[in-house]
């Protein structure tokens, strides 16, 4: 990997974290390993492998939901570095997934650091308001925190991707098969956390049974996700129609 390529990866990681330059959609796109892996692959000249590794890593974070400022795991860093090390180190997707697990854990530290340090800029914004300098609020809300974010994200990602590749194969060999298989076990269980987090929002009342319906039809009938998606849409509509008729009957008496 050339220095330039590693630098671009650093910038991609910054863009995934920044709502500013990449726009409000960064969190939904570049931040996802599916997209981040694809972009990493483009930079390194192998978009197909990048996409495949990114997709596998994204599975781990499929239901991840960020609510109230809590972010469980840095999937963006996991996606970019996982794909980068996978491509340059020639790892298979399972090994890339295994590396992505600890990377995602470490990445959350950056998130905590950022949200803590940003508080200082919130106070700076107050000062501008008190001084009647509303036109300067952007410096506190946009310029300084984003500069800080850029250094906090782009530099570690640049260093890790530039120096990581040459060590990663050796590191994995040194760790041995045991560590690798443990990490793969963890990676396989991780989607449960994302799904559990999402369930906190939607696993309610009469909808609960549909969780088990979705589970059972997939297990027993081997349906694809797209099939389940359409069936779920129909189930929701049918349920609402039945509920409406029941209500309508009561009102009309």
């Amino acid at each position: 990997m050339s220095v330039l390529q590693a630098m671009i990866l650093g910038v991609i990681y910054y863009l995934g974290n920044s709502s500013v330059v990449a726009g409000p959609i960064g969190y939904y796109t570049i931040y996802r390993p599916l997209v981040g892996g694809f972009l990493t692959g483009l930079v390194l000249g192998d978009p197909v492998t990048g996409t495949m590794i990114g997709a596998t890593i994204n599975l781990m974070y499929i239901g991840f939901i960020s609510a109230g400022g809590a972010l469980p795991g840095d999937m963006c860093l996991a996606g970019i570095l996982g794909a980068a090390l996978g491509i340059t180190g020639g790892l298979d997707t399972e090994a890339a997934l295994a590396i992505a697990v600890p990377i995602g854990l470490i990445g959350t530290l950056l998130w905590f650091g950022r949200l803590t340090l940003d508080s200082a800029f919130a106070h700076l914004a107050d000062k501008f308001v008190e001084k009647g300098q509303g036109n300067k609020v952007w410096i506190a809300d946009l310029l300084l925190p984003q500069l800080m974010l850029f250094f906090m994200t782009a530099i570690p990602c640049f260093l890790a991707s530039y120096f990581g590749a040459s060590y990663i194969q050796g590191a994995i060999d040194a760790l041995g098969g045991n560590v690798l298989s443990v990490l793969i076990v963890i990676g396989g269980m991780m989607p449960a956390l994302g799904i559990g987090l999402t369930l906190m929002y939607i696993f309610k009342g009469e909808a609960k049974i549909f969780f088990f319906v979705g589970f059972l039809i997939t297990v027993y009938l081997n349906l694809s996700m797209i099939a389940v998606g359409f069936l779920a849409l129909c189930a929701a509509i049918i349920y609402m129609q039945i509920k409406n008729t029941a209500k309508g009957g009561a009102v009309n008496e």
């Binding site: 709502s19 409000p24 959609i25 939904y28 796109t29 599916l34 997209v35 692959g41 197909v48 996409t51 495949m52 990114g54 997709a55 599975l59 499929i62 939901i65 960020s66 400022g69 469980p72 950022r114 949200l115 508080s119 919130a122 914004a125 107050d126 308001v129 008190e130 509303g134 036109n135 809300d141 946009l142 925190p145 045991n178 990490l183 076990v185 963890i186 989607p191 449960a192 956390l193 799904i195 559990g196 999402t198 369930l199 906190m200 939607i202 909808a207 609960k208 549909f210 969780f211 979705g214 297990v219 694809s224 389940v228 998606g229 779920a232 849409l233 189930a235 929701a236 509509i237 609402m240």
Partner: protein
């Protein structure tokens, strides 16, 4: 709102500026103290500067109202931003709205709006689209991440802009009414059902845990708990139990980071002992 009498002070351009400032900066300075509060303040700058061009004191007062805490799902929150812009405009036109009213509308709506937004976007749309896209991408389809991204761009911009304009034009009463009457509840319970079913399928497809315990029955036959017990009755029973267990822990108030560390611990112990594998 009696816009018919008062000429509106904010032009379409001002509103767009306010919306775009919110859209791009709501989490630019995301911090534990105010969360998106600083971003909210930022989005009110174009409004306050336009409304009180001459009066610096009033401009300061207007902005001071928005230095507080704000946290919401960013797309649906744009309706609150639009509505706040409308309230500031009415206030500038001389309507009697006290400062507390502005704050209480903001903080009163941010809970319900997060509820809708997180359910619809993060709970249903994103996992569903990702599941489709990942299925395709795993075999090396590079169009999949691109199409996924384009759809998400359309979703985010569409919801955010529509919400902003609705909040601005219809005001808080309309939003409250909409929250109270059936439509929103219907959308939410429909989304809940769809989301639950999709998540159930995700558990079956993508959570993987299996039991590696084999019991030596006799010299030449081994009883595999996974293959001969679980797979025979309900193949993905362990992923299901794991997910429900995680959900229970989260519901009891354990933080997601903590639950993640539990998973790591279980993985290390289970993986090394061979119980899981």
């Amino acid at each position: 709102m009696n816009n018919t009498e008062n000429k509106s002070l904010l032009t379409k351009g001002d509103l767009k500026k306010c919306w775009l400032t919110w859209l791009f900066n709501n989490q630019a300075c995301y911090n534990y103290e105010r969360m998106m509060g600083t971003g909210f303040l930022h989005s009110m700058v174009p409004v306050a500067r336009k409304l009180y061009k001459e009066d610096m004191e009033k401009q300061r007062e207007a902005l001071r109202r928005h230095t507080g805490f704000f946290n919401c799902e960013p797309c649906f929150a744009s309706s609150i931003v639009g509505l706040t812009a409308a309230m500031e405009e009415q206030k500038a036109q001389g309507a009697e709205i006290d400062d507390d009213a502005v704050t209480s509308v903001k903080s009163g709506l941010m809970g319900p709006m997060s509820g809708i937004g997180d359910t619809v976007i993060q709970g249903v749309i994103v996992p569903l689209l990702l599941a489709f896209a990942i299925d395709l991408a795993k075999n090396g389809n590079v169009a999949s991440p691109v199409i996924y991204s384009l759809i998400m761009v359309a979703v985010v911009f569409g919801i955010s802009y529509t919400g902003f304009m609705m909040g601005y034009k219809k005001g808080s009463d309309a939003i409250l009414k909409m929250l109270e009457n059936g439509i929103v509840n219907k959308i939410i319970s429909g989304a809940n059902i769809m989301g639950c079913m999709v998540l159930g399928a995700l558990v079956a497809n993508y959570v993987s845990v299996s039991c590696g315990i084999n019991i030596q029955q006799s010299a030449d036959s081994v009883f595999s708990i996974q293959e001969q017990l679980f797979d025979a009755i309900l193949p993905k029973v362990l992923p299901l139990l794991l997910t429900l267990g995680v959900y229970k822990l989260l519901q009891k108030g354990h933080s997601s980071i903590r639950v993640m560390l539990y998973i790591v611990a279980v993985g290390v112990i289970g993986g090394l002992t061979g119980i899981l594998g």
